[in-house]
Symmetry: D2
Subunit: 294 residues, 4 copies
């Protein structure tokens, strides 16, 4: 299977893979370093936190809940891409600073989305990892800009992006010199409407087959349904994901954003126990914090 992985349609549907993201042997697998934590072929890393940073209290409570249950990286949005101009747009630079404060307090590195090329440098000063969101997966100027930073990048698949386009978007970042990229499947758009998106878990083995980059899954956006997040998180690990990113809120009913798909700290805690069982059933385990970070 080795030699022809990239052009035999019976193996990868004829997908053409650009050179820097391409995996060249079955054993090749990159590790991405996020503030000392490694995302890659070993332990499964869980990233969690609120959709949007709302306040110091909200972020702190949620972050500690994440940490106590074994989450290793904090997520939180400060610049929010919202379909409507009249929705809450995030706290902006103030949110970035809050994330940094709580990150230092808890010892959890953090990832946050950057939407504007003009903000990339500023956000890079604070964040441990830059997220490029679904809607910006083909914002090529943004991809180039984060490709010029020294910070790892979490690249989310566009909701209607093919695997090939997703890998080309990652190639934009690597082509600028930044090879610290984590790919994230977060659901694609189909005709089905009971779920917000259709989580394409077959993208996990396919991406890992074609590329050496780590692959994680976002079951929160992938389903849009709070009750379904734990089930699909488990399925993602079974499908071989190197990690998960999930929305956790200390009070989902009151969240300013995406409350309907956020789980609360108790649900998160129970889920982490289950995830470790699944990880072990596929020969892995949940990653533990670096001793120096505890």
């Amino acid at each position: 299977m080795e030699s022809n992985r990239n052009n035999d349609p019976s193996i990868s549907g004829g997908c053409s893979v650009p050179s820097k993201v391409r995996r060249r042997s079955n054993s090749e697998a990159s590790e991405v370093n996020v503030g000392g934590l490694k995302i890659g072929p070993n332990g499964v890393v869980v990233i969690a936190g609120p959709c949007a940073v709302e306040s110091s209290e909200q972020l702190r409570e949620t972050a500690y809940a994440v940490k106590i249950s074994g989450g290793l990286i904090l997520r939180g949005g400060a610049f929010k891409p919202r379909s409507s101009p009249y929705n809450f747009q995030g706290l902006g630079s103030e949110g970035i600073k809050l994330l940094k404060e709580i990150s230092l307090e808890t010892g959890l590195p953090f990832v946050t989305e950057v939407m504007d090329t003009r903000h990339v440098e500023f956000v890079s000063e604070y964040a441990d990892m830059l997220q490029v969101g679904s809607r910006n997966m083909q914002n090529f100027v943004l991809l180039k800009e984060v490709g010029m930073q020294k910070k790892p990048v979490l690249l989310k698949r566009g909701m209607m992006a093919t695997i090939e386009e997703f890998l080309l978007a990652a190639e934009y970042i690597l082509s600028q010199g930044n090879d610290q990229v984590v790919l994230c499947e977060r659901g694609i758009r189909t005709f089905e409407t009971t779920t917000r998106n259709t989580l394409d878990l077959s993208a996990v083995p396919m991406l890992k087959h074609l590329s050496h980059l780590p692959v994680i899954v976002d079951p929160s956006h992938g389903t849009g349904l709070r009750w379904m997040v734990p089930t699909m998180a488990k399925a993602a690990i079974a499908a071989g994901a190197d990690g998960l990113i999930m929305e956790v809120h200390y009070n989902p009913e009151e969240a300013l954003c995406d409350g309907h798909q956020s789980i609360n700290p108790e649900e998160f805690s129970a889920l982490m126990t289950d995830l470790d069982k699944i990880a072990r059933a596929v020969g892995r385990k949940l990653a533990k914090p670096e001793p120096s970070l505890i």
Copy 2:
């Protein structure tokens, strides 16, 4: 969550569920009896066999391989729905008789597809379970006809069917008096082309949430890629599937149909060991044969 499972969009996307397939409480879960074997909330049942019955030897060898590794039900196509009129169309009634013969020899009940209302009675005399395929999910006359039989039905989701349409198709069968229906997710059609279909694993928790009927997954058609079948089979169990149906061929390279997505007996055997681990990680286990059937 109990009372409003069927009309709160934050729970099921506003899906309307017809009365006979509807699940009325979190504990309601039907069991379907296939030749003495039960598909339902307990052990996870694996159905396996060739895409198409090709010969007595092919079917016998594959069937014993399935049985030895723990497969409990034999699958095999005699009437084949093929996109092109020039492709192999199956052995027809001769294939049905071969299936019966090997079924009696091995003690494995068998499921086979029926495509024509005029064949339903004949196939019902031989088969332990009738399959209605994807392309016939909205063949309403066929649904009514199998609904009038005393045999359990394996109903595959149409590749373009919403969850709501899928449940309505099942309702057609139940409305005729036959409540022995198993739902099967087998991949939907999306824009993605690296896989034959996009396996929609979120359909598993959604269907089980909305309906009391058992839900199984077909990772062979769902991916179309032999190397990906084991991974997605594991993910399906983690997502809560009550069973799997997979294409196994004793010599996939020479198969007359779907060889590119069939695994061989060795791969099947290795997979069964892995599946039991995943099943246990979600609090279940692989179903064992009824003592009387060994």
Copy 3:
């Protein structure tokens, strides 16, 4: 463009076309004879009538309205494929007989859907054209059965069928000896929800480019919106359609089926005038009835 129309991706996206439906030169175009009327490269033919036959009065009033405004073929459903078993399923054989009666009265040939292989012979005795509906486009036993009749067939594209699959479905009919097939684009399923389906008008030039068979369009199912039917009917003619099939009801608000997408006789009459203008703008005109049929 002649020699490579079927394998140059810059021309037809790499679509492979089976032999009997394949168009071999730019001038090849079949004509299909429906009760003396010809659907093909000359005049644009309009088929119209109610979604379902409801009563003698309803059918008669609507049929005369269709005839008076220039509709040449009557449509009407007697066996109705309905998503839910609890919806009106049509009048069955009684509806077929009513269609025949009104057809003789008005002199309009009629087309009606057949869903069950066991009904094909019966319906063929009465109808001038057999319709195979969207949901049965890959009901291969039905395709073979209508392929063995001497009646022309109106084959509707499946709502998630590729152009290639659509042509293969037509090939099933031709391979049985019946070359009187008209292809009908009726909207495909996409993520968009403001319209019932997404009418794929580019299918019209593509199908005519690849195949010699006539191509018509169904703007009623294609949009699902009564107010949008006239606009899309005009666009279909501009795209090169050889005809249209539309739902007309003498009282859409009271229709037992698809009233929301049926236009009334006044709207139909106004539309026919507009359609002739469009047809002339693309070098064609609306077909007139055969003198012997008036």
Copy 4:
């Protein structure tokens, strides 16, 4: 139909329309002024030019060909969004200056894409209209930035965007004070692969029904097939489009970008004659240049 156009699912599929783009009466229709030319409810405006500016000679020859045949606005890309980082990325600011030069020479106003918030001010100094491309339809920071300019904006529908999301994207621009927005349907992504995208012409009447903004169509990207562009251009006018934007290249075989979907000057000239006929058949005509611009 007036009062409930925005909430009756039988009319608009339940689409919710934001306040500034919403059409409040059947007679409301905005006009957008592009360098003195008006896009709106009157004459149909044709925008044409090369995919990418390649050289002074290429742009000049193509621009004169466009003008001679009745094209009123010149299009040309200087900053090109390309799926692969290794494809030609455009001439950048040099391309913008060439566009200005040829625009002054020919008297054709020009539209060009802007991708980076940092370039918006610069491009606004030169261009008569700013294009926000498909891939940036939900690049909300870019939408806000062009919303703060005094230049009209051509907003292309994202290939995965619903009608509702498209209107919300336009609302972002209007909410910043810029109401000079033209909506452009350019094909959506579906499962169909014979065409590059599926041109959704029903979006034209739907957008015009829901919003007062002008709507144009891009048959070049919508089909990806040079031979199909004229047919779908005609269908777009019949569907009620207020204009077209097309790729014309004086030598498509040698184009650095999108040659397979570009028509040549002779094809463009023949098409313009046909388009006028279609426009007249729906009660409109092709817009003529302002006398002062000739």
